[in-house]
């Protein structure tokens, strides 16, 4: 079981430390993801200032997670289903409700994008998602606990209700031992990024995950961190630095 005593304690510690940093900020409501935190610390190698546009690469998780849910349900029901079957089903479902002509619009949903890119474009999106799903299917323990598609896996830590939240994404696993899918190989920063997920969950609901896992599709590795006080202290320091900088720039 997750330790709610530690969770409440860490929720209190984090809010005591972070809330004063934004007490006097007058800025539009902002949500910082892990990348947003790194961006504040100037710790990202490259910065993409272009507006968000869907692409086969960016769509693969959005298509892949519901496809993994399909595969998991099929396994539960003892139905035969392949990653290609599952992804095709999801792409067809999304395409059916999308709007034509929205491929390059700022507010396009993935359904609109899929509808607007033609058969060749949908084939590209399908193959990227199939490759992603197949790699996940072979690396997560099967059948998996709780694949979290779309908004089901978002966690938000409210630092000041009208000003700043921190967000994290969880792809699979029970809340006490959540997991994420990483495309790349592990880096020295991976353990901190996983601890960040635990801290956001603790602030969100006062319950601290025992451990957080990442599966790394490109390398076949698995990183798991236990949520020790030392790790959480490091992450809290890092978040405090990032929020201080954000507040200065706001």
């Amino acid at each position: 079981m997750a330790d709610s005593g530690r969770g409440r304690e860490w929720r209190g510690r984090a809010l005591d430390r972070l809330s004063p940093l934004v007490a006097d900020v007058d800025a539009p409501r902002t949500t910082l993801s892990w990348f947003g935190v790194l961006e504040q610390l100037d710790a990202l190698d490259g910065r993409d200032d272009e507006p968000f546009r869907w692409s086969a690469l960016k769509a693969r998780r959005q298509i892949g997670l519901p496809a993994l849910q399909e595969l998991s349900a099929a396994a539960e029901d003892r139905r035969k289903m392949t990653p290609l079957d599952a992804v095709t089903r999801v792409v067809e479902r999304m395409t059916a409700v999308g709007r034509e002509g929205w491929a390059d619009r700022d507010d396009a949903k993935i359904e609109d994008w899929l509808r607007s890119i033609g058969d060749g474009g949908r084939a590209a999106a399908t193959r990227a998602a199939v490759t992603w799903v197949t790699a996940c299917r072979t690396q997560v323990r099967w059948p998996p606990h709780d694949i979290r598609a779309r908004d089901e896996g978002n966690a938000y830590a409210t630092i000041r209700k009208d000003v700043l939240s921190l967000s994290a994404r969880i792809d699979f696993g029970p809340w006490v031992r959540p997991g994420v899918v990483e495309s790349n190989a592990p880096t020295p920063r991976t353990p901190v990024s996983l601890g960040y997920i635990a801290l956001v969950r603790a602030v969100e609901c006062g319950v601290l995950p025992q451990a957080v896992t990442a599966i790394h599709l490109a390398s076949g590795d698995r990183t798991q961190v236990e949520t020790t006080d030392a790790l959480l202290n490091d992450i809290l320091d890092l978040c405090a630095d990032a929020i201080t900088r954000w507040a200065e720039r706001a």
Binding site: T82, L84, A123, A124, S219
Partner: protein, 302 residues
């Protein structure tokens, strides 16, 4: 060499054309050796040097000629009709794999794929290309689409096809990374098909470089913990299928090349003077005009 890819799969179905299964202890030993050697080599990287990313071409290039490899490392290759054709053929094959059909208009379909991938560089090149260049590409791609239709089997979903699958294997605490991308992986794991890698070449089979195929096998074995039984190259230019059955020895050979290449790159990055060696790739080297060694290379030199 097999006449068609469909013929190769018929062989696989009857158990022919595959390397012997590589057992797990052999793979563990291979990884341990690579880890030991690459950790030691990585420790020699200058502290301010960026991560050393070893790709298929960086391994091949530095083993062929250190001077040429250093030059190639600094030059961004311009797109050309043959390079763009290669990208279009990859999209054509990828579409065939997931839809089970060759599109009626192969060129339009491949361009739609490039758009969905936001491959802006190639799209810009296509936008700027002369009408006769586009017409030539359409024709060449159409020929390859016909060869695809005639020589590929139906790729069953039960084989778990996954295209453009990336592998990045870190060593030396991430200072060295082996990096590659498989055109198509099939089988393995819970499927009934042995693990296979299919590489697609837009040109002809004569350009297939055997050690490159072992490189792909090594990457897959390190990432997946299971070695592919065969690496297959389908050449769209002539429709010929070239196969490299994979054994533990083939993987060891690939690992030794990687170690040698890493050692040379690290020495070069640490300031060693690069050697010059004549080899078949001299014909395309950016330094050919000023390199006497390269100019002296003849096909008979090997």
């Amino acid at each position: 060499m097999t006449a068609t890819l469909a013929g190769f799969f018929d062989d696989v179905a009857s158990g022919k054309g595959l390397g012997p299964p590589v057992d797990r202890p052999a793979l563990v030993e291979l990884r341990e050796r690579l880890t030991r050697e690459l950790d030691a080599i990585g420790a020699q990287l200058p502290p301010d040097a960026p991560q050393l990313v070893l790709t298929k071409s960086r391994v091949r290039d530095v083993l062929a000629c250190e001077t040429g490899a250093l030059t190639g490392n600094e030059v961004v290759t311009d797109l050309s009709p043959s390079l763009v054709l290669g990208q279009l053929v990859d999209r054509l094959v990828g579409t065939y794999v997931v839809t089970g059909a060759v599109p009626d208009d192969a060129f339009a379909s491949a361009v739609e794929s490039l758009r969905a991938e936001r491959n802006e560089r190639t799209l810009a090149w296509l936008d700027a290309a002369a009408p006769e260049t586009i017409a030539g590409l359409r024709e060449d791609l159409g020929d390859r689409a016909t060869r695809l239709e005639n020589s590929w089997p139906a790729v069953l979903p039960e084989w778990w096809p996954r295209s453009e699958d990336a592998a990045r294997i870190p060593f030396a605490g991430g200072r060295i990374e082996l990096s590659g991308r498989f055109d198509l992986l099939l089988g393995g794991r819970v499927t009934d098909l042995p693990p296979l890698i299919v590489e697609v070449k837009a040109g002809s089979a004569t350009g297939v470089h055997q050690p490159d195929l072992y490189w792909y096998a090594l990457l897959a074995a390190l990432r997946d913990g299971a070695a592919p039984r065969c690496v297959v190259v389908w050449s769209a230019g002539d429709g010929i299928t070239t196969t490299a059955p994979i054994s533990a020895d083939g993987l060891r050979s690939a690992a030794l090349r990687v170690i040698d290449a890493a050692d040379r790159w690290v020495a070069l990055l640490a300031g060693k003077s690069p050697s010059v060696t004549a080899h078949p790739g001299c014909r395309w080297c950016a330094l050919l005009d000023v390199c006497e060694t390269g100019q002296r290379w003849q096909p008979d030199d090997g």
